[in-house]
Symmetry: C2
Amino acid sequence: MSTSSIPATLRMTPRDYQAFDALFELSSRIGATAAGGLHRLTASAEDQQVRDAFCTWLTRQGFDVKIDEIGNIFGLITLRPGAPWLLCGSHLDSQPLGGRFDGAYGVTAAAATLVSLARQLREQNEPAQYNLAVVNWTNEEGARFQPSLIGSSFFTGAVTLDEALACTDADGFTLDAALQAIGYRGTALPPLPLRAYLELHVEQGPHLEQQRKQIGVVTETWAALKWQVTFRGEQNHTGPALMSRRRDALLAAAQTIVAVRAEADRHGEVLHTSVGRLATTPNSPNVVTSEATVWIEFRSADEALLHQLRASFSQQMQSIALATATDVSLDRAQFRPRQQLDSLLAQRALHLAERIGLSAIPLRSVAGHDAISLSYHCPSALLFVPSVGGLSHNEREFTATEDLHRGLDLLMALLSDLLLEETA
Amino acid sequence: MSTSSIPATLRMTPRDYQAFDALFELSSRIGATAAGGLHRLTASAEDQQVRDAFCTWLTRQGFDVKIDEIGNIFGLITLRPGAPWLLCGSHLDSQPLGGRFDGAYGVTAAAATLVSLARQLREQNEPAQYNLAVVNWTNEEGARFQPSLIGSSFFTGAVTLDEALACTDADGFTLDAALQAIGYRGTALPPLPLRAYLELHVEQGPHLEQQRKQIGVVTETWAALKWQVTFRGEQNHTGPALMSRRRDALLAAAQTIVAVRAEADRHGEVLHTSVGRLATTPNSPNVVTSEATVWIEFRSADEALLHQLRASFSQQMQSIALATATDVSLDRAQFRPRQQLDSLLAQRALHLAERIGLSAIPLRSVAGHDAISLSYHCPSALLFVPSVGGLSHNEREFTATEDLHRGLDLLMALLSDLLLEETA
């Protein structure tokens, strides 16, 4: 493999930006909230609607559209039959009352850029080393169904189809049934050998804005430890039951939430911690809670710190259980190691950004992304554009249109560069 | 008013106990849980089923059945047209995964006892000063719809019909619509002047069992302060968002739950505190919670302590809001004062218990009951039978059949005594 230079003529045109703007606008309308955000949970009616609209758009633009067994949507443009693929994309699902940029930007940017690229290659009769594909991964968010990154993890073989389909939502509905209900439980696809996976995303953090940079090239990710923990106590009447006899699972959960935050305060910003989800039974004002489940996250670039927390925080939960006369169990534990993204691809992205006049810096990603799943499978690049105020998973999540377009410029440059490279 | 003696012949017969056992068994089957409890929320399908069965039973036993505007069910036996009424009852709704005795015992015991009493009066051609009625009050529990005690509070005029009907459940369904859906949104009834209201109930606390007594006669209730409090923060990504910038409403709620318990620990058993219900938005594992609502209860016989807590705990919630960068608002506050039940009626119940060979003691009730609502309206008696382990609002709530029957014996004695009293 060697480098090549970008033909000066391969770039986004005003018409291409307009096509992107229109497609992104279409996405933003489906599941739009009154406050300008997006509420488009995996396999919901809104997800079905945006998937239908996306497939229709791809077909009209000449993509060959395929749905795999977990509902991932692929739009294929064959340039060189039998050659490996350059795959670009992200996800169209959102958090509850989430933002319209998270995920949707990466899918629509990839689609619009590939259309532009394919058209220009045809017009200029340029040779291509690879084929082009866009993807919408199923259930990146892990909001309705846990864990997150299900579609991309199935694609790489990190989870089996059975595991992926068996995930259930809070009502006990499986992902299998939910995908069937919206008509996106597809069929097994032939293998798609990848030269590289490229993903554009909004940063969801403050660093690009603080450092006044236009592009962040992710070089590695933080590690994450995710726990689902259940405390079990005893239902009782909140009035007459003696305080000394109560076995209050919600009290145990509350002490845990406070303790999880205290860990972050103790370690400073090198450790991010949270409890974002809590489920209680029976959740009635005058009944002592019998069962409370908390979803805990510890994230750090320091894996050793997470291993140490795994031990010390387990002990702390045992102490909380003892003090509240509850039982505690670890229902699910997931450790996502710190992961390096492909350094050659990252360097290439930084170099190309400079070449086309964009200010770019290497960054670490705290959050998980489909590109992290893919990085275990093929060279993968994750490119960030700024998030105003670092705000994300929020209806007010925002990135200016010029910043969005700069991402497309870099994606076009990187794709062109890869596509025209001389293979070994 | 003067006292009278109970005719030796007016008492529950084996056949009457059997009728009660069968009716109580019928109630226990409708909404039964696998663990032997009851799940029969107000205006649910199960509530409709038990109401239908109860109305059918009453009609077959010769009661005149009436449904009022809030769905309270009255079964009337006219003995002396135009005279005041002796009303007995409780509620057929339950907590989620609750017990089969709480409420259902009081309704079925009243119904079976009134049938026996009316039959014996007819057979013996005894004169009666009053008419007899049994009642099932709507939404005593306050589980699906808050506040609790809606049906009895509407009956006494403590809440208006509009207020009562406008209560909503967690899905925003009004009590009005829910009652219409099950066919129990009745019509305005003529006034029902009451001589007294009598309610049998399981204790739901440990005192009778600990003191090895068969009957508790409630003389007064604890006061209660109930708050619904909402913290508002900001949705954000639990990964990249800096800890120092987070505005986590769930963290604020957790600190509140811990602080509510700390108040009880500080004051000992003279203060019972709880948070039984918590609602969060968006409740997704990797989103910082934007909104968390807690339902707080403080209960004590010491009203001054509750007034002091009202001030000090408000301050504490302000401090929590400040520390977590959230906003806090008090959505609803309810103060239920300490209430004395009619002392003449309580003395009469204690006296009659002794007369028929039951060991009885005066008790305070920590929990609210329909008899407390009624006590503002007419002389009211609240009679407890033991609860095994003091356990309630729990599927394992239990009272032995002999204890249940002893309650019926006392109810029969008290009703007979009242019914045959010489009026002034």
